[in-house]
């Protein structure tokens, strides 16, 4: 088949699956592709590709989880009330949040002068979220202040049964202060989107 046909078929299948399940989701697989910049042993700045799998693996190591098929990295809508969404590592079996990779907070907080842009129908939104990280890994750093931003675009689709499904995508950038095995600072940039719904 042509690629376009395959993609169309996959999209129809995914939508059909979501409708069959008949529920609104608030956690979706977090699909990320980016680059981590650091200074190498020769003193040069080098970029290394990173993905959601890289982030999942490093959190798995921190949590002493060797079987990565038992956990997922997910975009959690409203995962950090009242501040915003989160990117979490969860148990596939129970949905329990094991740790939080990112907080995407304060993207719409008028007290801080931050405003999201939303359409009148409240089905589409663009915002600049502040990124917070909470644990020390090669790609995160426990810090009380924000360490980056996400330019986030959200769309919400409600089917005839009233079930809402989300399409969220954006560009992320954050930095990591040296801790543990990181001998120097790291700057990460990349794009994310949502994969299959989980919970």
């Amino acid at each position: 088949m042509r690629i376009t046909s395959i993609i169309s078929a996959a999209a129809v299948l995914l939508l059909a699956l979501m409708n069959l399940r008949g529920q609104s989701y608030y956690e979706y697989k977090f699909v990320f592709s980016g680059t981590a910049y650091r200074t190498n042993g020769a003193g040069n700045i080098v970029g290394t590709p990173i993905t959601d799998k890289t982030l999942l693996q490093t959190q798995g190591e921190r949590l002493n989880i060797t079987n990565l098929s038992t956990i997922s990295i997910v975009y959690h809508i409203g995962g950090g009330p009242p501040y915003g969404d989160t990117v979490d590592i969860i148990s596939n079996a129970t949905g329990q949040t094991l740790t939080t990779e990112f907080g995407l907070y304060f993207g719409s907080d008028t007290n801080l002068g931050r405003y999201a842009v939303t359409n009148a129908a409240q089905t589409e939104q663009r915002r600049v979220d502040q990124i917070y990280t909470f644990s020390n890994t090669p790609y995160t750093y426990e810090n009380p202040d924000s360490l980056g931003t996400a330019f986030t675009c959200k769309r919400f689709l409600t089917d005839t049964n009233g079930n809402t499904n989300s399409i969220v995508e954006g560009a992320l950038c954050w930095d990591v202060t040296p801790t543990g095995t990181n001998s120097g600072p790291v700057i990460c940039v990349g794009n994310f989107t949502l994969g299959q719904p989980m919970f």
Binding site: R114, V117, Y141, T149, A171
Partner: protein, 237 residues
């Protein structure tokens, strides 16, 4: 749910109030007329000559280090239109400059420039609107601050030779225009990549990045979000 101390302690604020300081310098830039000669030549030759002209004109003939370069920006501003739809509108450095000139009652745009000002403030670099004749900073469009500030846990990545830097700068805006507003806290972020080349003791900068920032509702405008890429043009001061 994770709630770091900073969020609980300061409600997500990233810093206290700041006051950008302007820097006034005399202009030494002389616009390169030789660029007009290349119009009738082949494009490859034109590019080669333009590059050599810029290199010699920027670093050799004038022989100075620049701290201000033309700010070249291309992006999109998103806002909700009159019928309630979220729409994107292309914006460039000229859009920002025109808006500032309108507010400042400056009708001749050839008298002002929008520049990337290295160390325009003690907190970091700035994007300023300057007078072409005197170099006076007329207004600061953006502050790119706290990209490497240990007190906030932010560290730039730098090569050993200190000639290349990548960092996450926080964007601050200081006064009201179509694309900025007066706010104490950061309103966006810039992924900034800097490299510096020193020839005959004179240092020139190559800086580029992507930036996104928000603007609070003002007058009849709803909120606006801007995103785009920037680089540096010719050295100005």
């Amino acid at each position: 749910m994770c709630t770091p101390g900073g969020i609980a302690g300061n409600g997500g604020k990233t810093r206290g109030g700041i006051a950008p300081s302007g820097i006034t310098q005399q202009t030494l830039w002389n616009g390169g007329r030789s660029l007009f000669i290349v119009q009738a030549m082949k494009m490859t030759k034109a590019f080669a000559i333009a590059a050599i002209t810029l290199m010699l004109g920027g670093t050799g003939a004038v022989a100075q280090s620049y701290s201000e370069y033309k700010f070249i920006f291309s992006g999109t501003s998103y806002q909700t239109n009159a019928v309630g739809k979220l729409v994107g509108t292309p914006i460039t450095d000229q859009t920002l400059l025109q808006d500032r000139a309108r507010i400042g009652n400056i009708t001749d745009l050839s008298t002002v420039s929008i520049v990337y000002h290295i160390n325009g403030n003690s907190l970091g670099d700035t994007v300023d609107v300057v007078s072409n004749s005197t170099g006076q900073v007329l207004v600061t469009e953006l502050g790119l601050f706290y990209g490497s500030y240990g007190g906030l846990g932010r560290t730039a990545v730098t090569n050993a030779a200190q000639t290349e830097v990548r960092r996450m700068d926080y964007i601050y805006t200081f006064n009201n225009s179509t694309y900025t507003f007066n706010n104490d806290d950061s309103v966006g972020c810039s992924i900034t990549s800097e490299s510096f080349a020193t020839t005959n003791g004179f240092t020139n900068a190559m800086i580029q990045g992507t930036m996104s920032w928000g603007v609070a509702p003002q007058k009849t405008n709803g909120p606006i979000l801007c995103i785009g890429s920037f680089s540096l043009g010719q050295g100005v001061f």
